[in-house]
Structures are given as structure tokens and as C-alpha cells.
């Protein structure tokens, strides 16, 4: 038994995958939630954790810097609100500028999803590619190559 007990190399690979795929979608998810009503940061964490079936889960170290970025660029606005408590909550609302930005994000996202689906559909068809006359002389081996 060696010291490095990394028996499951696939799990961290999945984590890396998920992290890369999630890139950019966090912004879309947060702004979408805020487009309905105002929320405070910690509330967003819970909403995203429970709504997206875990696929949209956001970590604190991701969310708070993101909110600050969105505030700096004027897409959302923050306001501290003490509802009778000593520790106030920081509520965020979408500005009209942010609403326009959200529109762009939605367009880009659906474009990507459509493009991806179209690619997979195209691959599904047994499409005949112009092989410039001289078809495959070497009879391409489609077998596995492990």
C-alpha cells in the first residue's frame, strides 16, 4: 500500500470538467435569479444549490467576487439592509443595464447550446463527405486503438 491512495482518478477529472464547463454559466444563473426579485448573496448560494439539480452549484469563493464584479460594472446594485438584526444582509438588484446584459448572455448561451446540438445531430447522420474522387484506398480502420 503506497502512500498516495488516489484510487479514484476519475472523480477529480469530473470536477475539473465541471469547473471548465461551468465557466460563464454562473453569471447567467445569478443574473437570471436576480431578474425575478432581489436576493442576498447567501440566499443565491442556496437557491442555485437546490434549483439546478446540483449542476449549477456555486462556491462562496466564486459567488462573492462575481457579485463584486457585476456591481463594479453596473449590472447589479447592492444595498445593506438590517431587518431588525445586528448583522445586516446585502441585497442585490438587477439594474436596467444588467437586464440588457442578461439578454445578451441568454442569446449567447442558447446559441452555444443550439450549435452543440446541431453538431451532434450532424454527426449522427451517416453523412457522405466529398472525398475528392479517390475514396479511401486504405479502408480506414474504425476499430479501437488502445
Amino acid at each position: 500500500m503506497s502512500e498516495d491512495a488516489e484510487a479514484a482518478p476519475g472523480s477529480e477529472t469530473i470536477a475539473r470538467l465541471r469547473r471548465e464547463l461551468a465557466r460563464g454559466t454562473t453569471e447567467l444563473a445569478v443574473l437570471s435569479v436576480l431578474s425575478v426579485r432581489r436576493r442576498y448573496g447567501y440566499e443565491l448560494l442556496k437557491v442555485l444549490r437546490e434549483t439546478g439539480e446540483g449542476a449549477l452549484e456555486v462556491k462562496e469563493g466564486t459567488l462573492y467576487p462575481l457579485l463584486h464584479r457585476l456591481e463594479d460594472s453596473g449590472h447589479i446594485r447592492a444595498s445593506w439592509e438590517a431587518e431588525g438584526r445586528a448583522r445586516p444582509r446585502k441585497y442585490y438588484v438587477l439594474t436596467s443595464d444588467g437586464r440588457a446584459y442578461l439578454g445578451m448572455l441568454r442569446v449567447e448561451w442558447s446559441g452555444l447550446v443550439d450549435g452543440m446540438r446541431q453538431l451532434l445531430d450532424t454527426l449522427g447522420e451517416v453523412q457522405e463527405w466529398p472525398t475528392s474522387g479517390r475514396s479511401s484506398t486504405t479502408t480506414p480502420k474504425e476499430s479501437d486503438a488502445t
Copy 2:
């Protein structure tokens, strides 16, 4: 007239958005194309440019390092092939390991798409949230805040 003539700030914002959203999908697209038949690098550039309606367009500086990474991790295998030409082409084939990896990627991608769609659907409904009894006393202003 100041020196920086950056009159269109939106276009480069879109570029940034698209770049962040595309994160990870390039790998999925490339492996999907290779799952049908072998391709050489430059060919992949053209296929992705023409198939995905521009949404999946990949730059050379992205593709070649990606192919090398995929080869190093054993998901694809390369072979130089001179078909009667002085400058041979580098063909890539999917290994069985890569096919399994592609399966994982597909699952993650569809999970993300489903999660996103579910989030948007949920927001569409006028869902009643438990406001802990004391409903909004301040009549939350849903108006814009620019």
C-alpha cells in the same frame, strides 16, 4: 478626440462572454467529431467552423495545444501520414479510453444544459416563496434602478 477610439465597448464584451462560455465545450466538440472518423488538425478547424453556425469556432492557438493535451492523457492518438505529399498530415483517432471520456463529457454537458433550462423554467413560474409569515411590508420595488 482622445487617442483611444474604443467606440464599441459591446463587441469585445461579447467576445469575452463567448470565450468564457465556450470553456470546455471545445473538448467536447473535438472529441465528438473524432468519434465518427479520424481527422487531422486543420481539418477539425474547418469542420467546426462550418458546422456549429459559428458558435463552436475554434482558433488555432486553442486547438493545437488541446490536441496535444488529449494525446498526452491518452484520449486520442496521433499518426503522421504522407499521402504522396512532402508535408504529411497529422491524423488523430479516438482511443477507447477517449471514448469513455467522451461519454462522461456528454453526461456533464447535458446535465448542465438541463440544469440551466430547469432554472429558467422555475423562474418563469410565479412561484410562491415562504416569506416567513410577515410578507413584504415595504412592497418590493420591482422597477428599474438605473
